[in-house]
């Protein structure tokens, strides 16, 4: 898809996809027959759940398993709960998968309607934590993190995706009211919008500060937005939230705005679908829709050894099954044909220095990878800046030995953090 040019005197430049003026409306797919919602909560067989198989739920209904836990999901269709089962994600993250089969007629749950007229943090926390875009609402009540700035990302975090840009373009009114609500419920006035140059005009009459982000990948990465446009580097191993800045996607703000304006919890998610031939389209679907229903709707046929990617091509994750549900933060689904799947190899590092030149965080990857391959994670973190890595994936992209450097780094971080 992206080959290096013949002349390579300079480092390769990857451009974020910019939303075209000709972008059409997202294609809606019909309400799915079944949705699966992933509840961020570990699964204990012995526990007695409040929710049982066979329970009828309405669209917008808040589903939770026990009173002790804050975790919940919002049902995105009306129907019957058919299964509650454990699900393991990347790096051993545990979820509980709740499957709902659609009933005949759609009904909207009225719990949120009762309290939306008085927007406050509590209501937002109770109902809006899993709207499209996954707003990090719980952060505001976290006593460890004193959030003082909110950055609204109208830019997409990875290549090929235009989901957030589309939200900024199509739903600017909802975003404006979302910003007002957010100011009101959090009490934070320092809200900044990050947008590409061609979009600044569109968000011109919002009364918040707008900063331009250039379209070279990975400029849209939160750490680099912090460094480049806010002039504040995040200390190694810390997140932006640790230093008081939190990031909302434009889609999440629009969802919050819509929720408080209309009294309905948004359950439809826009996402960029990249088909096998590389053509892109915007799709609108319920959260929890299995990927297979999207493929059926747009005639994508899959073969053995193809690759399905949830998220962007640099930082997303490959999924093993067509039943994988769309998450609130799945901004893209990418399908790669078997022939385009490039294998990683176990060559050693030849010290060519490509990664050093492209790394936006200036991590000495040529040395780091030697320690990581030898399993010396402690040394890697101490001497070779493991935790400065911002996880953009560029090192693996340019690696001439095709070492899965990015995965080594994530594995090392995971191992060190779980110790």
């Amino acid at each position: 898809m992206l080959k290096r040019s013949f002349i390579r005197l300079t480092k390769p430049r990857l451009k974020n996809e910019l939303l075209q003026d000709t972008q059409t409306e997202p294609q809606k797919i019909s309400t799915p027959k079944k949705v699966t919602l992933l509840l961020d909560n570990s699964f204990d067989q012995k526990e007695v759940f409040l929710l049982k198989e066979g329970d009828k739920v309405k669209t917008g209904r808040k589903l939770f398993l026990s009173k002790d836990s804050d975790a919940y999901v919002i049902s995105t269709i009306t129907g019957t709960v058919t299964s509650i089962s454990p699900y393991t994600g990347d790096f051993g993250d545990t979820y509980t998968a709740i499957s709902i089969v659609a009933g005949e007629e759609e009904e909207i749950d009225d719990e949120f309607e009762k309290c939306f007229k008085e927007p406050n943090l509590d209501v937002a926390k109770k109902f809006l934590a899993c709207v499209p875009g996954n707003p990090p609402i719980n952060l505001f009540s976290d006593s460890d993190k004193r959030i003082n700035t909110i950055v609204i990302c109208g830019v997409d975090s990875d290549l090929l995706i235009t989901t957030r840009q589309y939200a900024l373009k199509s739903d600017i009114e909802a975003i404006k009211s979302g910003i007002l609500f957010l100011k009101k419920i959090t009490g934070i006035d320092n809200i900044i919008m990050a947008a590409h140059r061609n979009q600044i005009q569109e968000c011109g009459d919002t009364d918040i500060e707008i900063k331009e982000v250039n379209s070279d990948y990975p400029s849209t990465h939160p750490h680099l937005i912090m460094k480049d446009i806010m002039g504040q580097s995040v200390p190694e191993g810390r997140s932006c939230e640790d230093v008081g800045v939190c990031f909302f996607s434009a889609e999440a703000i629009a969802a919050i705005g819509n929720a408080f304006n209309h009294g309905k919890i948004p359950v439809t998610k826009n996402l960029t679908l990249v088909k096998k031939d590389g053509s892109k389209m915007m799709v609108s679907t319920r959260i929890g829709t299995p990927i297979s229903e999207i493929f059926d709707a747009f005639d994508v046929t899959l073969n053995e050894k193809d690759r399905i990617i949830a998220g962007g091509p640099m930082t997303g994750s490959a999924v093993f099954s067509e039943d994988y549900p769309i998450q609130p933060d799945t901004d893209a689904i990418i399908v790669q044909v078997k022939d385009n799947v490039k294998k990683v190899l176990d060559n050693p590092c030849i010290n060519c220095g490509e990664c050093i030149r492209i790394c936006p965080a200036k991590v000495p990857i040529n040395m780091l990878i030697r320690f990581l391959q030898a399993g010396q994670y402690g040394m890697a973190a101490e001497q070779y800046d493991l935790f400065s890595c911002i996880e953009c994936g560029l090192c693996s992209f340019v690696c001439i030995s095709r070492i899965p450097i990015f995965q080594y780094i994530r594995l090392a971080k995971y191992e060190l953090r779980s110790d």
Binding site: M1, F6, I7, R8, L9, P12, H223, S233, V234, P235, E236, G237, R238, L302, N303, E304, K305, D306, R307, I308, I309, P313, M314, G316, S317, A318, F320, S321, I334, K338, V341, K342, D346, N347, P348, C349, I350, N351, C352, G353, E354, R357, P360, A361, K362, V363, P364, N366, M367, D385, S388, G393, S396, F397, V398, I400, S401, R402, F406, Q407
Partner: protein
């Protein structure tokens, strides 16, 4: 469950810029071709024999080492062939077969494989081979002696040896255009200045070698030679003479730039290259050896790990 299609599940990123080690090796070999072909035309069948034997024996040594050490076969990446080719370029055309075999053995086995193969070698393998031969069988690297039976229609004297033994007046007859166009004797692949420069520029443009190293090496040679020349122009030859004779050009473009034994950070690359250039002229002008490139680069190879510690501060460090 079992009739499900199986998809490839792997980790991000899902794109690659399609670069490969073999692509790199073959392009460097391609870039040496002008100089090598020129050498073959000049020195004929014996040179062809040396080049062929060197490349093939390098590959065989690598294959044998893969077999002995029970590691994956790595001859496909072209690195062994490249070492063999570069090694042959540094030899006189009349080198006997056993010299070539010993040299490639030292290059591939001692210079590279015992350190764990590609990427692990602290020195340039081809240079280790040539350095050991130069120390062990000095006479075979006396180019005047080795090429005694050739008469190619220009001054059949090895310029650097003439300079060393007879002073600047002995090399007055070499003009810069003669040297550039390969009208000098020397090792198989090192006499054709324009060819090597063209190959080097090709590699720099394609991004296969790091321009910082090549340019700073050449600058190091030029400036140091210029200072010596300024000091006493009857004893020390001018900068362009040093630039175009001996192993200087091949050293700058093909030897010093070997990936594993050279630094990758910006400032270290300049120090490394310039250090190699300065050492080259120092050895030539006041050292015992006729040519200093081999030992200068090996010396800088040793300094490489230390030099590469000079690096920019990573994001979020020390805040």
């Amino acid at each position: 469950m079992f009739d499900q299609k199986k998809f490839v599940v792997s980790h991000a990123p899902f794109l690659h810029d399609e670069s490969r080690i073999s692509e790199r090796s073959y392009n460097i070999m391609l870039a040496t071709l002008p100089a090598v072909l020129f050498g073959l035309v000049h020195y004929g069948i014996p040179a062809l024999g040396v080049v062929s034997l060197s490349i093939s024996s390098s590959i065989i040594w690598e294959f044998l080492m893969n077999y002995v050490t029970k590691r994956p076969k790595s001859i496909g990446d072209g690195n062994a062939a490249l070492i063999g080719l570069l090694f042959a370029m540094l030899l006189p055309a009349t080198s006997p077969w056993w010299l070539v075999l010993t040299g490639t053995f030292v290059s591939v086995v001692i210079g590279k494989q015992i350190f764990g193969g590609i990427g692990g070698n602290p020195f340039n393998p081809a240079l280790i081979g040539i350095a050991i031969l130069m120390v062990s069988w000095k006479n075979f690297f006396d180019f005047d002696d080795a090429l005694l039976n050739y008469d190619l229609g220009f001054i059949m004297v090895y310029p650097l040896a003439a300079l060393k033994h007879f002073g600047v007046s002995a090399v007055d007859s070499f003009t810069i255009s003669d040297l550039l166009l390969g009208r000098q004797i020397g090792a198989i692949g090192t006499t054709f200045g324009i060819g090597i420069i063209a190959g080097g520029i090709y590699l720099i443009i394609r991004g296969f070698i790091r321009w910082e190293i090549s340019l700073s090496f050449l600058a190091g040679v030029l400036i140091t030679a210029f200072i010596f020349n300024l000091y006493d122009s009857t004893r020390y030859a001018g900068p362009f003479f040093h630039l175009l004779t001996g192993y200087t050009l091949i050293g700058a473009f093909f030897l010093a730039t070997e990936d594993s034994s050279s630094p990758v950070n910006f400032i270290p690359m300049f120090i490394y290259g310039a250090g190699g250039g300065i050492m080259t002229v120092l050895i030539r002008n006041i050292g015992a050896h006729v040519d200093g490139v081999v030992f200068a680069i090996i010396l800088m190879n040793i300094a490489n790990p230390l030099l590469d510690k000079i690096r920019p501060k990573a994001i979020g460090k020390g805040i």
